[in-house]
């Protein structure tokens, strides 16, 4: 069984380190002959994907942090602080986890392209702010979108965590006259650190791996993220360049693979919550 789960990745890796001119494809799962080993596909893949990789990082880091933080705040306001009717609000958050993105795509495209003047704003201030490029408006739109769609699952993960915390500390702090904000900053936030790790890993993987939102909000151009660029790589009129395509797939997957290899237990915790 283990072979079944590993062999597509293993075959991809063995092909990706093969010199494309020596590639025959007769036994793609075996390592190439010593003379045919080449890092060429990888360097070519990194070249072809560098802009997409950079854009993906610009997108993923803020979106992950924002959705995690807002999810923690929502879970605190709806769990630790107790009030009537919160369960109704919370149900709307939970339902948001399961919504197929197709149900909101056309409105989102309308919103970002025709309703909010984000494009003109960014294009007018871009020359004045170092590092800000005109095409970044699409990435900003995508960051806000991914944040909004990440909040529900983050809230669910944090709420499960906050329900398990003992309420003695919170009550003691309340009796001492601490405000709700102070309790969050001094007690809840420090106790949330392990959960933040789980949430950040989950969100990082989800947002990095997404294609549909990028396809409909960024569409095309300089702001394309890595999953968009990967779709068309390695195909030309001469046929498919499998070493390049496999190398590109591995390069695009590398950030999430590294996160998974180093924090696999936290990833498992996130997906099974």
């Amino acid at each position: 069984m283990i072979v079944f789960y590993l062999i597509p990745i293993e075959t991809g890796l063995m092909t990706a380190i093969t010199d494309p001119s020596a590639y025959t494809g007769s036994a793609p799962y075996l390592p190439p002959a010593p003379g045919d080993v080449s890092l060429g596909p990888f360097t070519n893949a990194v070249d072809a994907l560098s802009q997409g990789l950079a854009n993906s990082f610009i997108l993923v880091v803020p979106a992950t942090i924002l959705s995690g933080l807002l999810g923690s705040m929502a879970a605190y306001g709806l769990t630790t602080v107790d009030w009537k009717g919160q369960i109704g609000i919370y149900m709307l958050f939970v339902a948001g986890i399961f919504i197929p993105y197709q149900a909101v795509l056309v409105p989102l495209t309308q919103f970002w392209y025709n309703v909010v003047p984000l494009r003109t704003t960014v294009e007018s201030v871009a020359p004045m702010i170092p590092l800000l490029q005109e095409f970044h408006w699409k990435l900003i739109a995508l960051i806000v979108t991914h944040t909004a769609y990440g909040i529900p699952i983050c809230t669910l993960l944090f709420r499960a965590h906050y329900k398990k915390l003992s309420d003695e500390m919170v009550e003691a702090a309340r009796l001492d006259g601490a405000s709700i904000t102070r309790i969050y900053r001094r007690i809840i936030l420090p106790l949330s650190v392990p959960m933040f790790a789980v949430v950040f890993i989950y969100q990082f993987t989800q947002i990095w791996n997404d294609l549909l939102f990028a396809l409909t909000i960024i569409q095309f151009g300089d702001a394309s993220v890595v999953t968009q660029d990967l779709v068309s790589i390695g195909v030309s009129q001469e046929g498919t360049n499998f070493p390049l395509r496999m190398a590109a797939a591995l390069v695009a997957a590398l950030p999430t693979l590294l996160v998974y290899i180093f924090f696999g237990d936290k990833f498992a915790k996130g997906v099974t919550a």
Partner: protein, 331 residues
């Protein structure tokens, strides 16, 4: 609202946990109970964001599906009708275009076939793997890491791997078939095999998820149940079938809901596998038809109406689940 809430409170206090949510009113925390306003700075901003982008967008999408919005320009909200739904069910040429539009039945059928096959095989395979891993505690973490590895990958990446696995000349699947004396077969573009090939790759990616959920379920069953069955002389198969599997109902339901939702999202995979909006009629699902109509053909309003159908399908699965979770005080 009140009645289920009191049930919920009783459930929580019966379980004896000192939880900070519901059920605390009787234990002297009335101090905390008037805080809906003062906690608003915490839950309101995320709620507004979700409300606007998720629920606002869903409602907007419903309105858009009633317009004739097509091509470039802006939607006209003055003239709303159900024409798009008539076209979705019957096909034909609507008033907003000169071309004949495909109804949704072919894609709906493929969506359901893919969903059912994918979910059932994932659950069965996941259960089998979980039982196997459960026997060998020593390497549990290694096994779990490997089975869950595909899930950390993007659909776009797995589509590239499987496109290679299925390749006519150099694909491992055809090499393996060749070893058994079967000639190479066209898989990716073969109308008879397309949907099965997609389902198989998705099963590869997500059966590990079902395994992890089942493993947690198995661990929650007291070992006395296993021992009692053994003392009674039940065979291993009989023990699992009669004693253990019935207790995994909760795990099955929650894994099933998540898998069904994943299968509705298979768009990314199909787009990457077929390099565009059109995987062909035999692998077309509602998720791809919606995006193709809207973003490929710029039939925006028609795409929105397909999206409404897709949304209702997801709702039919998710709403009963969330309601039962709520009734059990699991939220």
């Amino acid at each position: 609202m009140r009645n289920p809430l009191t049930v919920l409170k009783r459930l929580v206090s019966d379980s004896g946990d000192a939880r900070t949510d519901g059920g605390t009113a009787s234990s002297g925390t009335s101090l905390l109970s008037r805080d809906s306003i003062r906690s608003a700075p915490f839950w309101l901003p995320p709620f507004l964001l979700v409300g606007l982008f998720v629920y606002g967008a869903i409602l907007w999408n419903v309105v858009l599906s009633l317009t004739d919005f097509q091509g470039l320009g802006d939607p006209n909200y003055g003239d709303l009708d159900f024409e798009n739904y008539v076209v979705a069910f019957d096909g034909g040429t609507p008033s907003w275009t000169d071309y004949s539009i495909d109804p949704i039945w072919n894609a709906t059928q493929n969506t359901v076939v893919l969903m059912v096959a994918f979910a059932i095989v994932c659950l069965a395979l996941g259960l089998l793997l979980a039982i196997l891993v459960d026997q060998q505690i020593r390497f549990e973490n290694t096994f779990r890491t490997i089975y869950l590895l595909p899930m950390s990958l993007s659909f776009v990446v797995t589509a590239k791997f499987w496109l290679y696995m299925y390749d006519y000349n150099t694909g491992l699947v055809n090499i393996a078939l060749g070893a058994f004396g079967f000639g190479p077969i066209e898989i990716v573009q073969n109308p008879d095999l397309k949907l099965a090939a997609v389902a198989f790759a998705l099963i590869w990616q997500y059966s590990g998820y079902a395994m992890v959920v089942y493993l947690a379920g198995l661990r929650a069953i007291p070992s006395s149940h296993f021992e009692a069955a053994r003392v009674d002389g039940a065979s291993t198969i009989r023990m699992y079938w009669r004693v253990i599997i019935p207790q995994l109902r909760t795990a099955t339901v929650s894994a099933l809901v998540v898998l069904v939702v994943f299968s509705l999202k298979a768009f990314d995979f199909l787009f990457s596998m077929y390099g565009g909006y059109n995987p062909g009629p035999s692998a077309d699902i509602l998720a791809t038809q919606m995006v193709r109509e809207a973003y490929g053909n710029q039939n925006w309003a028609y795409g929105s109406s397909i999206a409404v159908v897709l949304f209702l399908m997801a709702l039919a699965v998710v709403a009963p689940y969330i309601y039962s979770q709520y009734r059990q005080g699991q939220l």
